[in-house]
Symmetry: C2
Subunit: 375 residues, 2 copies
Amino acid sequence: MAYLNENYLKLQAGYLFPEIARRVRAFCENNPEAAKRLIRCGIGDVTEPLPQAAVSAMKQAVGELGARETFRGYGPEQGYEFLRSKIAQSDYRDRGIEISEDEIFVSDGSKCDCGNILDILGHQNKIAITDPVYPVYVDTNVMAGHTGQVRNDGSYEGITYLPCTIENNFVADPPKEHVDVVYLCFPNNPTGAVASSERLSRWIDYAREHNALILFDAAYEAYIGDPAFPHSIYEIPGAAEYAIEFRSFSKTGGFTGVRCGFTVMPRSVRAKTGGDKSLPLHPLWHRRWSTKSNGVSYPVQRGAEALYSEAGRRQVQALIDHYMGNARILRDAATSAGFTVHGGTNAPYICFFRVSAFNSRENAEEVGQRLRMAA
Amino acid sequence: MAYLNENYLKLQAGYLFPEIARRVRAFCENNPEAAKRLIRCGIGDVTEPLPQAAVSAMKQAVGELGARETFRGYGPEQGYEFLRSKIAQSDYRDRGIEISEDEIFVSDGSKCDCGNILDILGHQNKIAITDPVYPVYVDTNVMAGHTGQVRNDGSYEGITYLPCTIENNFVADPPKEHVDVVYLCFPNNPTGAVASSERLSRWIDYAREHNALILFDAAYEAYIGDPAFPHSIYEIPGAAEYAIEFRSFSKTGGFTGVRCGFTVMPRSVRAKTGGDKSLPLHPLWHRRWSTKSNGVSYPVQRGAEALYSEAGRRQVQALIDHYMGNARILRDAATSAGFTVHGGTNAPYICFFRVSAFNSRENAEEVGQRLRMAA
């Protein structure tokens, strides 16, 4: 009989969000009256329609595939040049960050990238995560065999946990000890915290000192309204040698069901062999995509491209304004209800108990009302 | 400095198809006149437009995402029920094979599935592949650390190679020795060989005797015209305990750029721990998808669903007839040119030197003409 990957047996219960869905279903079945009024504020899933710019572009792309003269088969595994160049230009070079288009890898979402990146890293790495954390970072490391067993409190042996607390404003500082790989996410999921350049600089200093690799999840960067906060880790000098950045169109273009994101893999990021030879990671990541994928659906890439058009940008901004309007309502209501509230100003998550601002305006207002009544 | 996955350093050159593309580009740059007449018959990429049923369904799905009332965010990680049930019913139960919809896992393509399946398998497995072989099977095992170094002939230490030759009609028989995991692909890429029930039964007998796991790639099953040949490994009694099947919409609906395929993971397939406890693989595969993916783009899944409509089926059949018409032209021309020809009758690949039938009719005729002239 073939051997299975025993690391999977260390995982606790199901993956968090399907497990939440299961419990909500059970609650609704047992409480049909309450179920009618249930508003889901747990999962960060968007509710508002796709920007019309993306809708038009995707329809047109589908039409192209339906005609002989404009049909396209396999695309480049790392993404079409038309999208990679838009990303590199608009999200980076226009903001003074030197990233070239071949350092952009288009994917079917940040969640996938956060897991897949482990394909090219060694098993000897000492891993650090902030706590609380997006469960994908932990679970994919468990599955890859980078941890020991689970402890009673749900944490895993072998992982360095960096507590995010009121005291550190939910932005963990680097640890005293050595780690090889650190996951950071700002604006943070789940706390809604945002990191200043000064706080991120401490991490780049740490990376330089320890030759550590930072996996920076910037899926929520578009929700930063305050110009004082950096959108990309590469705004911190030196970061292009130590950091890989993940981004997503899920929470900008409402692409949670369309599926598109990307990784920024600078050519200057290096890692080492057991024999202490150091090599750039870019060719390994390129090879991973060539071998294990045929790239992202063509119409999806055209939809993502359209988010960078003038109309697309306006429509994306309107979506962000909408959700941040929800965040304000939820923050205000929670504050008047007497909760101490974090997040929700440069991030779509509000943290007293964690509430997601991804909802219709009507639902956000109703939740606000209920919070006030609960006070 | 973080450790990289050193197994990547064992890989030979680039992944095969990007490497072919690179060499073709170089040839064309150096031979601009010849380049004008170049017809690509190497890569199995389709050339004909998407079936109109898929085009309409995808456009409609994009439209749904553009309206508030019909918008959908995150879908089920394993695929929408509407598609999984169509697949289970049409591809399996209608053909007398008991597969339930929750044994179908929708993916962004067979290439990805063939690589990702290794996530849930242990590193101790002894792997067998047929030779020649679709390079993804080998390269993903190299990357996962399941092989030793490469030999001078391009083969890897630690893999059991099963030669496919004229003598065995390009269908390898099971080896004498024990292996844990076997990759089989029929109709075969690259040889165009097809396996009878009798030949596949030998493999199921082997799997039963050795408790081996068969990874069965059926991406080209739709090209089987002769009713004597099985389309699915599950047509062989007992296979549901020993085989995982991969299928693709790439070569049926022309989805090479749209990206959709699926895995069949029967609940009855088991694997073992190092401690010799045996467990079903289905929950591990389910957990892998929940943790490392958010499923396939909604419009893409609607496009795939449409291939099962009455119009969709007709249009898919027309595509297959077209490519098999090409195959006939290429076979005939190669035969008249004096080559000994294999494949191309129940498969879209013809093997003298390997030629792909995925092309326009015009190009196929021109290649046929050139072959005759070469004779």
